[in-house]
Structure formats: structure tokens, C-alpha cells
């Protein structure tokens, strides 16, 4: 209830504010995806554009845009799997004018992958910005044997592991059970069967979990204090902790790390498309990518982006990934309508189960 | 075991609050079935004394006995002393029946008996039909009676009343005075009544204690307090009085001859056990009803329009400043040569010889009705 109220008030406030200044770029993005130094450089280059940033996550981005029918923001950055179904159901994005975007230096594999996922009726709705993975974060001194998703449920680490109770862990567990959940998206009955097995497995596992983490901060605190020794984690979070404790490493699970690509999309009622295109082109320049990656820990979707990572992150990535791991990445597939509901129910069941 | 003659005794009771001695060595004993008042100005310690009797305060020193037994160790709810509070403290969330039944329930009286006793006490306070009413539906006088009934139903040894008439309007207060006295007779229980209103105390009480600055100034019947005040405070506080300051010029067998600063000579007798010597500063009191008012130059003392005794030990000349008409109790304000206002009671008949403002008059009164107290005693208000 509260969130709807705040969404409405926020949109009222924002639409009032937007009337006054045409040259404001209202950016809806992830924490650390708009570092101050990049904004300063952008505003220096385009003095007539003001950048306003709202930090959010996938779910909230879509909820915010849905509340207003795509108004209130000029540029948003949901993950690549959150575009197709969201657009079909809620009509919150507008097609991109690809001629305005310099795609020449984009990693072709990522650009094509995103285009494939985000094309409706021949119109492209998203281009890639940065990508990263979700895998395991392991304190290798305490838990050297954690190699796969299933190891989080190993009784040897009773009460010393963690995960985030969101759809990622459902998919990860499906892989660890030998299934291919993305392939099953086309057959929802089959997918429900997989989900039931996953639910059962994760309820069993609940006893082994110390707590479900909510965000990077509580995960980091638990890991650094030694309260947990292994957890599901974003790679960027793991890289940050690697800097503080070299025993803490990102481990791509045996079944492959799950890869996500954060994209650029234009909200349907955005008012500053030109400024938005300028921002997209601006942040994909190699010298800006370097600054951006230092802030986010994620890799930009341009050629040679890995080399633009700051040295400490590069070391962390090298410690984590071999070439084989890169080949084994599992990119999130588009979420077909209805799947979020199925997954949501599974998550509720796990949460409500009394595992200890 | 014989029944103890006194329902309530206080023996050398003291109570100190910080540097203030609220109650200072007070002793009293109240015989069975009497109406006893403690009269004093606010802040004199009478409420503290009452709270100690009820058990809400403990004396620093002294003993309190009810029916001969010390109650100092008994908690308030274990003393058979009930109290009617200043604002009555009826329980607004209970109806009349429950208010009265509260004490009986606390005592574990069986339900059937409670109903009977409540009805019985309601009839005794002449409110037989209000049992089911809410407190808010009662009039001021009815509340008063319910508050008394709530205590009396418990058959207390002593009933304390803490200025319960203060909140009522004048008319009702006059009526309640009589009613309280009747109720006390009817229940034949010892009432201890606290008030700052002398008329309440005088009208209702068998005995009155006048209290000032934590001490009892005098204990006695209303008549005694009025006619033979033992201290200047009592003389000034109980009833009306004209006051002069003066110096003792000579002592006689009957009293003293005094002279005011303006040079007027007055004769007075020494009150109670007071002593003074020649040269002492004294205060002199005379009640207005003892002053005879005569037309100026008149010789006889049995002139129409005056009342009071005819003794002419003291004489003052003056002029009537104003007439306060109140039927049989009318009063004159007379400005004397000393420029002081003297009050004197007269009966105005409405005839042509009634005294009018501006007339020159002569005041005279007997030294028997003139009391002097050494001025070192507390100043009268």
C-alpha cells in the first residue's frame, strides 16, 4: 500500500518538477552506476543538461515505471531479462532509435544477445551497458571445498552459508539439480515441475542457511565478520571483499555462473531522449568506462572492456574466472509472462517453511 | 474489655516536609459519636493531619489511636477510618451501586448482603432510587450524599471529611451543612471535619480545633471559641472583630488599661491564660455585636437601635461612614477620630430614628467584651 502511495506521490512530484526544466536527464539506475565524477564530466561537456539520479533495482524500476505508465524518468537500466515481458504487460518503454547510438565499439555478442531478447514487433527496446555474474563467494581459508551451488547446503557448513531469496537462487539450484531452467521456459508445466524440486531442495537447505541476505551491505558484513564462509553473491561484491581479505574469492559454480546484462532503455513517457542518447554514448567511451567500472565492478559491453577494469578488480576477475568459466556463463533468458508468479510462489513457500 | 471512650486520639503527632513543620506536636482526643472540626487557613497543616489519620502519610513522631489502638503500623486499607475527599473522588466508571458496593466487595461481603446493605444506606441518605444511575447523572448534593454513603456503608469508627462542601454553590452549601449534621446524628459515627470556613465549623461541630502553622491554637466548643478565645489568632479567625494595637499603661484587678498610638485609652480584660505587664505591646479585640452605637452627645445606654450590653468602660466618638444593610444583622462602618474604621452591629427597624451615613455617633462597650493579647503572639489575619 505504502509503496503505491509513494509511487504516486513521487510521480506527482516528479512530473511537477519536470515541467520547469526541459534539459534535465532523469536517470533511473543501480547504485554506483552513476558515479559523481562521471556526472560532472558529462555536465561539463553538455552544460545545458542537468543529471538527476534515482538509485533502484530491477523490481523497483519496473514498479516505478509501471505506476506512471513510463513517466517520470528519461533513461532506465533494467537487466536484459526484464524488458520483453515487462513491455508486453505494462507498456512502459519506447523503441530505441539505434541510429542515435554508437554501437560500433560494442561487444557484438552482447549487443546481439540483448537485441534478440529485447525486440518486439521489429522494434529494439534496449542496448547493453555492463554485465556481470552471480556465483559463489567463498572464504577459501575456511571452506576450500565449496565449488557448486549445492555446496551451500552442505551440512559441513551448517549455519555458515547464505543466499538471497530471489529468483536467481531458484535458477541456480535448478542447474545444480541437473536441469536447464531457461530451456524449460517454453514449457511452463515442465518448469513448474523443476520449480517444485527446487523448492523442496531449498526448504531442506534452509536449516543450513544462517540468514537470507538482502543487499550487498549485509552480505559483506556477514562475510567479513566470518559469520558465514560461503554465499551466493554478485561478482562485484566479491571483488570488493577480495580487496579487504584475499581469502574471499568469487567462485564460478561448476554449472556455470549466471550472467546478467544491465541495459539502457527509454521509458515510454521520457521527455529528454536526446540527452538520454548523449548519456549512453558518453558512458560507453573507453575513458569513461574505466571510471564507471572502478565504481561498479562490472564489465562494460565494449570491446576490450576487461582491460579497462582497475588493477585490483582485474586481479580479482583473473582469480575468479578462467576462459572455460567465461564460456560456461549462463545468460539469463527472457522471463515469459507468468513465470514471475510461479517463481514468486516458490519463494514464498521457501520463506514460510519452518526449516529451523 | 470495656469500650474505649475515645474513637480517635492523636498524641504529640508531628510531620515535617523539608524545612516546613506541617504538623507540630498536635494532640487531640475525640469522644464517641461527636462531630469534630479542624478549622484553619489553607496551609495550616490540617490536611496533612487528616492524611496521617487516614494513613496516606506517616507521622515522624507521635501516635494515632483509633478506639484506643495504635494504627501507625496499619496500611490505609486496614484502618477503619473512611474519608470523604474534597472533590469526593467518586469512581466515574462505576454506577452508584458499584461505588457504594466497592468497599463491601473489598471486604468480601457476600453478594446478597451487599445488595441489601447498599439499598439500606441509600435509604438512609434519602436517595433510594439512584442505585443504577451513573455518577455523572447526579446533582452536586446527591454526589455528596453518595460519597458519605459509600463510606458509611462500611460502618467506620471515624469518618473524615476533607472540605467536602468547598465545590458547592452557596445555597447548596448552607443546606448541606444542616444535612451533614443530621446525617452524623443519624449514623451516630464520629465525624472529623476539615474546613477553612468558620461558619461550617461553628454550625455543625460539637468540638472545634483551631489550627495555625501546624499547631492547635485552641480546642473547644464553638461557643467557647467564640466567646473565650485563648489566642489572638482564634479571636481574629473565629467570628468578626475590631482590632486595635496598643500599649499597656497600667494593670488593674479586672484587667488592663491600654493606650493606642493615637492616644485613645481603652480598658480590656486579659484573655484566658494570657499574661502581660505594663509597657507590653498588645492587640485588642472587640466583636461588632458588643458595641453600642449612640447618637453623639447622648447619655443613656439603652437607646433604641442598639443592642449589646450597656457597659460603657470604653467610649469612642466617630461618624457613620456607611451602613451595610442585612436586615436584623445590619452593620455600621464608623470612622473614628483615629481615622480607623470600626464595625458595629445594629438592628435597623426602618423607623425614622435609624442611623444614617454621615451621622456623628458615640460608640461604647464594656471591658468584659474587650480582650487583649500580648502582641508577640501571632498576628491575627
Amino acid at each position: 500500500m505504502k509503496s503505491v502511495l509513494s509511487a504516486i506521490t513521487a510521480s506527482v512530484a516528479l512530473s511537477l518538477a519536470s515541467g520547469a526544466q526541459a534539459e534535465t536527464l532523469r536517470l533511473l539506475t543501480w547504485g554506483s552506476y552513476a558515479p559523481d565524477n562521471v556526472i560532472e564530466m558529462f555536465e561539463e561537456k553538455y552544460p545545458d543538461i542537468d543529471v538527476e539520479v534515482t538509485y533502484s533495482n530491477n523490481e523497483e524500476m519496473i514498479a516505478k515505471l509501471r505506476a506512471t505508465g513510463g513517466a517520470g524518468f528519461d533513461l532506465a537500466q533494467p537487466s536484459h531479462d526484464r524488458i520483453y515481458a515487462a513491455q508486453l504487460e505494462f507498456d512502459i518503454y519506447k523503441p530505441l532509435d539505434l541510429s542515435q547510438i554508437d554501437t560500433s565499439n560494442m561487444t557484438p555478442k552482447l549487443l546481439d544477445g540483448v537485441k534478440e531478447n529485447a525486440t518486439i514487433d521489429g522494434e529494439v527496446y534496449a542496448v547493453p551497458h555492463q554485465w556481470g555474474t552471480t556465483g559463489l563467494m567463498v572464504n577459501t581459508a575456511e571452506a576450500p571445498d565449496v565449488k557448486s551451488w549445492g555446496d551451500l547446503c552442505d551440512p559441513a557448513y551448517q549455519g555458515k552459508t547464505s543466499m538471497r531469496l530471489k529468483r536467481t537462487i531458484l535458477l541456480a539450484t535448478a542447474y545444480s539439480l541437473g536441469e536447464d531452467p531457461f530451456a524449460a521456459y517454453s514449457d511452463l508445466d515442465k518448469y513448474q515441475g523443476i520449480l517444485d524440486d527446487v523448492t523442496e531442495k531449498l526448504i531442506e537447505c534452509k536449516d543450513n542457511i544462517k540468514a537470507y541476505w538482502q543487499g550487498g551491505d549485509d552480505l559483506s558484513a556477514m562475510m567479513l565478520s566470518g559469520e558465514i564462509v560461503a554465499s551466493e553473491s554478485w561478482d562485484s561484491t566479491a571483488y570488493k571483499l577480495f580487496g579487504e581479505n584475499p581469502d574471499i574469492k568469487f567462485v564460478p559454480p561448476a554449472t556455470g555462473a549466471l550472467a546478467w546484462i544491465d541495459t539502457f532503455v527509454l521509458p515510454r513517457k521520457g521527455k529528454a531522449d536526446d540527452a538520454a542518447y548523449k548519456w549512453i554514448n558518453f558512458v560507453l567511451q573507453p575513458e569513461i568506462v574505466e571510471l564507471m567500472s572502478a565504481s561498479t565492478g562490472a564489465i562494460a559491453s565494449i570491446n576490450g572492456a576487461a582491460d579497462l577494469l582497475p588493477a585490483d578488480k582485474k586481479a580479482a576477475v583473473n582469480a575468479a574466472f578462467s576462459d572455460a568459466d567465461i564460456d560456461n556463463l549462463k545468460f539469463f533468458a527472457n522471463i515469459p509472462p507468468g513465470v514471475e508468479d510461479m517463481e514468486g510462489k516458490a519463494l514464498e513457500k521457501i520463506k514460510a517453511a519452518t526449516g529451523g | 474489655m470495656t469500650e474505649h471512650a475515645f474513637d480517635l486520639e492523636c498524641i504529640d503527632v508531628s510531620r515535617q516536609f523539608g524545612s516546613v513543620r506541617a504538623v507540630d506536636n498536635v494532640s487531640l482526643s475525640i469522644p464517641r459519636g461527636s462531630f469534630f472540626s479542624i478549622l484553619g487557613p489553607s496551609g495550616c497543616g490540617k490536611t496533612t493531619l487528616m492524611r496521617m489519620i487516614a494513613g496516606f502519610e506517616n507521622p515522624d513522631h507521635g501516635d494515632i489511636r483509633i478506639k484506643g489502638k495504635s494504627v501507625l503500623k496499619a496500611a490505609p486499607n486496614k484502618r477503619n477510618v473512611k474519608m470523604v475527599f474534597q472533590h469526593l473522588a467518586l469512581f466515574p466508571m462505576m454506577n452508584v451501586h458499584d461505588n457504594i458496593a466497592y468497599g463491601l466487595r473489598c471486604a468480601g461481603v457476600p453478594a446478597a448482603e451487599i445488595t441489601r446493605k447498599v439499598q439500606d444506606v441509600l435509604e438512609r441518605v434519602a436517595l433510594p432510587d439512584v442505585a443504577k444511575r451513573d455518577i455523572q447523572q447526579l446533582s452536586g448534593g446527591q454526589k455528596q450524599r453518595i460519597a458519605i454513603a459509600r463510606c458509611m456503608v462500611l460502618d467506620p469508627d471515624v469518618l473524615l471529611l476533607d472540605e467536602p462542601l468547598g465545590a458547592l454553590d452557596l445555597k447548596l452549601r448552607e443546606a448541606m451543612k444542616i444535612e451533614l449534621k443530621l446525617l452524623q446524628h443519624q449514623f451516630n459515627t464520629t465525624f472529623v471535619y476539615i474546613t477553612h470556613d468558620q461558619s461550617e465549623a461553628l454550625v455543625m461541630s460539637d468540638q472545634v480545633a483551631v489550627m495555625n502553622q501546624g499547631r492547635f491554637e485552641q480546642v473547644g466548643t464553638p461557643q467557647m471559641l467564640y466567646q473565650q478565645p485563648e489566642t489572638a489568632f482564634v479571636a481574629g479567625f473565629v467570628g468578626d472583630a475590631n482590632l486595635w494595637h496598643g500599649k499597656v499603661e497600667s494593670m488593674t484587678e479586672l484587667g488592663a488599661v491600654l493606650r493606642t498610638p493615637a492616644g485613645t485609652a481603652l480598658q480590656a480584660r486579659l484573655a484566658g491564660s494570657q499574661r502581660c505587664r505594663v509597657g507590653d505591646e498588645v492587640n485588642i479585640y472587640t466583636r461588632p455585636e458588643f458595641m453600642s452605637v449612640l447618637p453623639s452627645g447622648g447619655e443613656t445606654s439603652n437607646n433604641a437601635g442598639t443592642r449589646g450590653t450597656a457597659g460603657a468602660d470604653n467610649v469612642l466618638e466617630g461618624r457613620v461612614d456607611s451602613v451595610l444593610f442585612n436586615g436584623a444583622n445590619s452593620r455600621l462602618l464608623i470612622r473614628t477620630a483615629e481615622q480607623a474604621l470600626v464595625e458595629a452591629d445594629v438592628t435597623l427597624t426602618g423607623g425614622s430614628d435609624d442611623i444614617k451615613p454621615g451621622e456623628a455617633v458615640k460608640l461604647q462597650w464594656s471591658m468584659q467584651q474587650t480582650l487583649c493579647f500580648p502582641a508577640s503572639a501571632a498576628q491575627a489575619s
Binding site: 500500500m1 505504502k2 509503496s3 503505491v4 502511495l5 506521490t9 523490481e59 523497483e60 514498479a63 509501471r66 515481458a85 508486453l88 504487460e89 507498456d91 531469496l165 530471489k166 534452509k206 542457511i209 544462517k210 540468514a211 537470507y212 538482502q214 549485509d218 565478520s225 566470518g226 559469520e227 509472462p337 514471475e340 508468479d341 514468486g344 510462489k345 519463494l347 514464498e348 513457500k349 520463506k351 514460510a352 519452518t354 526449516g355 529451523g356 | 494513613g55 496516606f56 490505609p76 486499607n77 473512611k82 474519608m83 475527599f85 474534597q86 472533590h87 473522588a89 469512581f91 466515574p92 466508571m93 462505576m94 466497592y102 468497599g103 466487595r105 473489598c106 471486604a107 463510606c151 462500611l154
Partner: protein, 308 residues
């Protein structure tokens, strides 16, 4: 409000032109005074709720295709997880309310009846302190204190009382403790204001007429304070049942709180329709509990919440 003014108007107007003008001005100023409030109620409370009702009665049949129906409500009753969570939330909230009353009553009694003026103010400030920091910061504070590697656990370890660290977080007891702490002020304020209005003589009369401490508490103080008790309980119960951050942050893996499910429906599952239905079910549930509480205690809304 305007209606009420209108109905008064004719009898005033009869007395003359001047008064009629005056009453017009009064009417206008009354209107202006209530305008922001009415707008606030209308725009931010009534309209969204009407929207929510409409939303909750839509069933999704296909992308961007909806049908009128009670499916979202039926779903709730068909799925034990949902109503179990609601009942659990309700029971825990009742427990929190009860504990807050149990702890708050003596404190309120002390503030209203025993404390001096200065102590009174200080104690009120103490109750206010939890509200000076946001929910989030407060919850994080607790987390720092109670976690396995937190201050209390380390202190107990270093003092030799325990050998292995203890996790105080992530239990129902922690959630209840956190909630009680948060809502305490809302219990104490109405209690203090009713107890303040109670003549001390009433308590003394209770003793004087033969009651012991327990009787006086049960027969006099509590019945007298009942409007405050009920009003505090209503506010606290509503706040607790509707709270979100404290149960989520402190509850750990087994903390199912109904608001979390509403949030999940709205945000994670994009299912606004059933989120709206859940929201209304929570509103209905808490209303029924409050209504039952009023019935059982023999109070009315106007004698409790409106008064304190």
C-alpha cells in the same frame, strides 16, 4: 462540514445583514481551514484506496487483459501460506501490543502519577528517542548489537559466560523486542494522558475504602485508564501489523510478515492485483481485530482514540 454550516445559517441570518456577512466569512474561513486536510484525505487516502479496490478486483487473464472478478481474494484463501502468514502477523502483533501495554503501563503510571515535572519531561524524551532515528538506522543498530559477531555476543564471550558466539538476531523474539521498542511511545502517550486526568484522590479513595494494591489497580486504575489502554492498543496493533522494516531486517529466514508478502506481490512479482487484494485483507483483518477489541472492552472509537 459545509452542510453543517448551512444548516446553522438560516437561524443566524434572521438577525440581520451584518451577521449574515459575518457567517459567510466564517463559512469561508472554515472551508479554507479544512481544505488542505480534506484534500489530503481525498487525494492521498480515499482516491488511492478506491484505486486499490478496483485494482484488487481485476483478474489477469493475459498480458494487458484483465477481467472483473474475485480471483485475487479467492487465491488468498486457497493458499495456506498467505492466510497462515496473516494469522501469524496478527498473533505476533497482538503479542507485541500486549507486551507494550505490560511494559508501558507502569512507565506511564510513573510518568503521570509519581514523577516530578522535570523527570516527567525527561522520561517523555526517553520514550521519544526511538523515533528520532529512522526505522532503518534503528534496525541496523540492533543488528550491530545482536549479531553473532556483535557487541553483546562478543561481550559475553570475553567475559567468559559463553564459549561459542550466540546469534541473537533472526528470531521471533528479536522481532517482537524490536517492535515493542519502536511502538512504546504510542502506547505510553495515550496512557499518560488518561492517567494524568485521574484525580489522585480516586486512588487514595480506593485504598481508603479497603482495597489492596491489586484491587485498586484492577477495579479503579485500569477501568479508569481503559480509554487510554484501548486507544494505545489500537494504534500499536495497527502500527505493528503494518510495519515492514523491523520484521524483515531482524526476522531472518523464517520471519514471515504479511506486509512483506504485499511488498513481494507489488514489487517482485509485478502482481499489483493480488497485492491490492492483500492490502485490503490486511486492512479488513486489523479492522476486525480492533472491532473485537472494542467490543470486548466495552469501549467505542469515539471514547478512546478520539479522546486521547
Amino acid at each position: 462540514m459545509v452542510d453543517a454550516a448551512d444548516s446553522v445559517l438560516p437561524c443566524i441570518c434572521g438577525t440581520g445583514e451584518l451577521i449574515a456577512v459575518g457567517s459567510d466569512i466564517r463559512k469561508l474561513s472554515l472551508l479554507l481551514l479544512f481544505l488542505p486536510f480534506s484534500l489530503w484525505i481525498l487525494l492521498l487516502i480515499i482516491l488511492p484506496h478506491v484505486g486499490m479496490v478496483v485494482l484488487s478486483l481485476r483478474e489477469k487473464v493475459a498480458p494487458r487483459v484483465y477481467e472483473f472478478g474475485f480471483g485475487n481474494y479467492i487465491d488468498f484463501f486457497m493458499e495456506p501460506i498467505y492466510w497462515n502468514t496473516l494469522i501469524r502477523t496478527g498473533l505476533m502483533s497482538l503479542l507485541v501490543t500486549f507486551l507494550a501495554l505490560l511494559i508501558g503501563f507502569p512507565v506511564a503510571y510513573y510518568i503521570a502519577k509519581l514523577a516530578g515535572n522535570r523527570t516527567k519531561g525527561m522520561l517523555f524524551m526517553l520514550c521519544l528517542i526511538p523515533l528520532w532515528v529512522s526505522d532503518l538506522i534503528r534496525a541496523f543498530g540492533w543488528i550491530l548489537l545482536l549479531r553473532e559477531s556483535g557487541i553483546i555476543s562478543s561481550f559475553l564471550m570475553s567475559s567468559g559466560l559463553i564459549d561459542t558466539p550466540i546469534e541473537f538476531l533472526y528470531t521471533d523474539a528479536t522481532v517482537i523486542m524490536g517492535l515493542v521498542y519502536t511502538v512504546m511511545l504510542f502506547m505510553i502517550v495515550p496512557l499518560v494522558s488518561t492517567l494524568d486526568g485521574m484525580d489522585n484522590a480516586m486512588i487514595e479513595a480506593g485504598y481508603n475504602l479497603g482495597g489492596n494494591g491489586f484491587t485498586v489497580l484492577r477495579r479503579i486504575i485500569i477501568p479508569y485508564a481503559m480509554p487510554g489502554i484501548v486507544s494505545g492498543c489500537i494504534v500499536v496493533f495497527m502500527m505493528t501489523a503494518g510495519s515492514y522494516l523491523t520484521p524483515i531486517l531482524m526476522g531472518g529466514k523464517n520471519s514471515s510478515w504479511f506486509t512483506e508478502q504485499i511488498y513481494d506481490q507489488f514489487i517482485s512479482r509485478y502482481n499489483w492485483e493480488s497485492g491490492a487484494a492483500f492490502g485490503f485483507l490486511l486492512l479488513a483483518f486489523t479492522s476486525v481485530v480492533v472491532w473485537l477489541g472494542l467490543k470486548l472492552s466495552g469501549q467505542t472509537l469515539s471514547s478512546t482514540v478520539a479522546k486521547s
